[in-house]
Amino acid sequence: MGIATSDKPLLARVKESEQDKFMQASVAKAQDAQHTKREDSRALLGNWEEWRELGEQIRQRAIAYLPDYLEEFSNNVDKNGGDVFFADTEADAVDYIQKIVKETGAKKLVKSKSMVTTEIDMDKQLLALNKGLALMETDLAEFILQKDNWDEPTHIVFPTLHKNRDQVREIFMKLGYEGDNDPEHLARFARKYLREYFLQADLGVTGCNFAVADTGMINLVTNEGNADLTMAIPKTQIVVMGMERIVPTMADAEVLDNLLCRSAVGQKLTSYVTFAGQQVAGETDGPENFHVVIVDNRRSEALGTQFQSILQCIRCGACINVCPVYRHIGGHGYGSIYPGPIGAVLSPILGGYEKFGELPYASSLCGACTETCPVKIPLHKLLIQHRMVYTDRLKMQGGLNNFMMEVIGIGTGFPFLFRSAIRFGRPGLRTMAHKTDRLTALNFIKDEPLVDKGPGLVGGWADVRDLPIPPKHKESFRSWFADHKQQQKLAQAQKDNSSDK
């Protein structure tokens, strides 16, 4: 299934989200709480705009020299005794991971949270390929999703934002939980359940926040401690990383960690910020076999294009937390494991326009995403760029709305046409207007027929809101202005006349 979480069209997903009042309430609550935490933590740091510029610079540098830094990183992993596999596609990545599973004879796999493993659908593929393999998601949220029959995540930082404590309790009861719905009790149960499993694990799979080119170590930023256990206990570790996760040095990673923690959860640093790699001589835990799988999976489609800046993303989810569209339609509304503004930009690149081409339209272009992005990705502008590809080049849209947009394009390009629109807008819209007794928005709605249904875009507007028909031509602003100027001239002439006398 890749990054898609649904086969339904956008409108159907939006309608489903609208029914899910718990999800909507918890997203709104989360957004509002995160707003305060995030903005406070940034204010406390000070000079936020300059920090963003630095973050942007580091990420742009890493992407501009992506092949060089990946080469340096892989050389260093190799030098430290690890293996690196460059995977063009998700199938290549899964094949390599499968090879390691076979070679090591792994029986119990533990996983920490990683969006890219969700993207390549690693879990289900490995389970299908290896009858004797047990696999456990150990991040609390991912564990809940897994035990809920692999429910799909709705947020890249808070994957279970759509679930309430009663639902979590029900899921855990199937695993033997007998307590109440107190989140702390639920979490303690998960701790105990997963700890037993952890201690027997022989293969760990982690994601990677940043890969440090000049040391060959990876940098992980977490709160629960499961990622560190995943890197400590099993003999073998596989790191799966999107190819753009690279940074030049530890110092660069450290700057980004500071931006990431504040932007994602409003913390100065999360509980655990770890630099880790291949076990060195004398150590008794940590990976003896350290593998890094570097995944392209269509990311390179963005390189050298107007979309290159999307690879700067550090997956903090701040754009999701400020998005007014996400606020209502939630993660499942996007139909992609990458929701929100980042998802609406990334999904068409990774998953194609056929499947995700409508996502860039599911935005009011309010710019909240661009404003909050800690590495200055111009997200709302990239959404417009997608719309351009979608309409101008692919010509996939067509239909009445397309026709109307073409008409608006022509109408706003020629002054005489627009002046006709001012003149004939009233009689034109009058044909779609109806007499109603609604007159509550004063100084806007007049006691005249209202446009409340119509074809195409007019209908889209009128399904939700009333529109007054335009004023009579002689009452338009332009007519008023012409009269006004005329009167000023007359008054001036009179004044001049009287002063002549």
Partner: protein, 254 residues
């Protein structure tokens, strides 16, 4: 001071009162106003919908029209549309004939409240309006134009007007130009939340500097049969003016 009025298509088509109020306020402060008749629209409806090439003519027409009258400033009653004109140098960067003109245009174009406060230095416009109001800050005016202060500063000095802060003021009202018509199911939920927050303030009057948002929020209020009075800031500042109340800022904003 010669000021060209950038009327915006929304005001031309739906909000004559906003245009009138803006001109009357500007004239009160000594501006000689001009309204070039060839101007149409900033181009957002089509450009933001992905019709890049189809919008080039709109951009060029707008540049020619607004520069057709020699002026000191160009002033418009919509933060979003003004932000778009400010982006013209970027949007016309591949058009050698128009790039220079676009830069001239962008450099002297201001949103109404911004012009009044930052350029003319008006502190108290002399208006009086009795009632309780809340202000809707538009996303484009705040984030793209970067103007988050001037309307609040001017509203503070309107006699008789009680301003109530709006919860979640940073959230979009769901207008988004053609988004409101193309994705009504999403837009409806957004505007409903905005309506709810406005209702919760207990305000009788909703003020904004973007007619597009007012059209969206006002249209939804009316559809729901909920009472509200919709006013553009220019209309507020043009209410019951007593010129003796007019004051200017002692220090210009930076």
């Amino acid at each position: 001071m010669k000021v060209v009025i950038f009327s915006t298509c929304v005001v031309d088509l739906e909000f004559p009162n906003v245009g009138k109020a803006m001109v009357e306020v500007l004239e009160r402060f000594g501006c000689d106003c001009y309204l070039p008749s060839d101007q149409i629209c900033c181009g957002q409806p089509t450009y933001n919908s992905g019709y890049e090439k189809g919008t080039q003519r709109t951009f060029r027409n707008q540049v020619d029209a607004l520069l057709s009258v020699e002026s000191d400033y160009i002033v418009g009653p919509a933060g979003s549309c003004v932000a778009m004109l400010r982006e013209y140098p970027e949007l016309l960067k591949d058009d050698p004939e128009y790039l220079g003109k676009a830069r001239i245009l962008a450099a002297k174009t201001y949103e109404f409240s911004q012009f009044l406060w930052r350029i003319l230095g008006v502190e108290n416009a002399g208006a009086e309006l009795n009632g309780k109001a809340t202000y809707h800050r538009s996303c484009h005016m705040t984030r793209l134009l970067g103007e988050a202060e001037s309307p609040y500063a001017l509203l503070e000095h309107v006699k008789g007007l009680e301003m109530v802060p709006l919860a979640n003021a940073h959230d979009c009202c769901g207008f988004g130009g053609t988004f409101s018509a193309k994705e009504p199911e999403i837009s409806k939920q957004m505007v409903d939340e905005k309506v709810r927050h406005i209702e919760e303030t207990g305000a009788e009057i909703l003020v904004s500097c973007d007619p597009g948002c007012l059209m969206n929020i006002g249209g939804r209020f009316n559809r729901l049969g909920k009472p509200i009075k919709i006013m553009h800031l220019a209309e507020v500042l043009n209410s019951n003016v007593d010129e003796r109340r007019i004051t200017y800022l002692k220090q210009m904003p930076v």
